[in-house]
């Protein structure tokens, strides 16, 4: 247990259940931002940053406010248990949207160079389904606080890895002589399919 389980979570989040290639979350930025290596790196780091924070914050909110237990905030105040889990979707999306906004302001204040590098990608992340998806997955997999945070971070790494690989390939692809109908997104999807086949090889990893 402990460190061993965390290692399994990290490896499976990066390679086996890669967020893009096998869970199909965050496809829009994957196709949209992968044309240039520079912007892919920027987007990747912004996603790691937001995913890690969002995983831990949404987990805490779920446990403290929504899930009926004796650790619940409403239980401390009223002495009764309220099952508010049906508010999960609406709470998470609002928390994520405000969180992204907050992160943007804090980064702008604390580290202008970092803001300059990540700035334009941060607002786009609100509608990146990876963030909401991972928050929901953390709850459904019954992860605890540390596991959720690590999972969020590892998923971010997996996202960045695939995004950067894809950007590198697409920069090369620009120089190729492609059939006209397949220029642009069409060939990007076929490329993604081939990468996904390659990543299927990791599915054989057993712990």
């Amino acid at each position: 247990m402990g460190a061993e389980k965390l290692l399994v979570i990290v490896v499976s989040a990066i390679f086996i259940n890669n967020i893009i290639l096998s869970r199909f979350l965050g496809i829009c930025p994957y196709i949209g931002v992968s044309k240039k290596l520079g912007s892919a790196i920027g987007m990747g780091f912004a996603v790691i940053f937001v995913l890690t924070i969002a995983s831990s914050v949404t987990y805490l909110i779920y446990v403290l406010f929504l899930y009926p237990s004796t650790n619940n905030f409403w239980y401390w105040i009223t002495g009764k248990m309220y099952d508010l889990t049906y508010l999960r979707t609406i709470t998470f999306i609002l928390v994520i949207a405000s969180l992204v906004q907050l992160v943007e302001m804090v980064v702008q204040k604390i580290s202008p160079p970092l803001y300059k590098a990540l700035g334009i990608y941060l607002p786009l992340i609100t509608t990146n389904c990876a963030v909401l998806g991972i928050s929901v997955l953390n709850i459904e997999e019954n992860y605890n606080f540390i596991e959720s945070t690590i999972h969020g971070f590892a998923v971010g790494i997996g996202f960045t890895l695939v995004l950067i690989l894809m950007a590198g390939l697409r920069e090369k692809l620009d120089l190729m002589d492609l059939p006209k109908p397949f220029e642009g997104p069409a060939i990007a999807f076929i490329l993604a399919g081939l990468m996904s086949i390659a990543f299927l090889g990791f599915a054989g990893l057993k712990f």
């Binding site: 199909f24 196709i31 060939i187």
Partner: protein, 201 residues
Amino acid sequence: MELKKEFLKGIYKENPIFRIMLGLCPTLAVTSSVENAIGMGLAASFVLLVSNSIISLIKGLIPDKIRIPSYIVVIASAVTVVDLVMAAYLPSLHKSLGIFVPLIVVNCIILGRAEAFASKNKLFPSIADALGMGLGFTLALMLLAFFRELLGNGTVLGINILGESYKPVLLMILPPGAFLTLGLLLGFFNFMDIKKQNKEK
């Protein structure tokens, strides 16, 4: 006639998946069988219909600065309704769609139509737009799922089409099949467009 135009544009000319390329995540994830595709398409269409109608009704009340959060709240409420109703009446479909039901909230088609159409138009055009876009989305999902299920499992809607001797291409049901099928279909639609343009010249 205006309504009919708003309705029809979603199906081919501005098809959300093949033309504007929005809402790709659920598209790829749920199309491993036609049944899931129909379920997802109808769920998203319902949310789109509710959010488009409500937003077109309250567009005058929402201050411009907080319009996106307000739209998201409307959409998330509709999604919660769909989520709970589906869990109660169609538990097996709910299970196979998994986290993609709550993820309808971040489906760009819905927020996109709210921002681009419902916030500027009256109720009835917004309803027509939602129905057309929803139908276009559902049809596109079904088309993708048709190829994937047929080649990957030899069936359509669970009915065996290709006979017992057909050896299924498992790859089509697995994640790579989704990317490859969508890529090839996009290429095909682009090809048809280029052919049509050449003819007009």
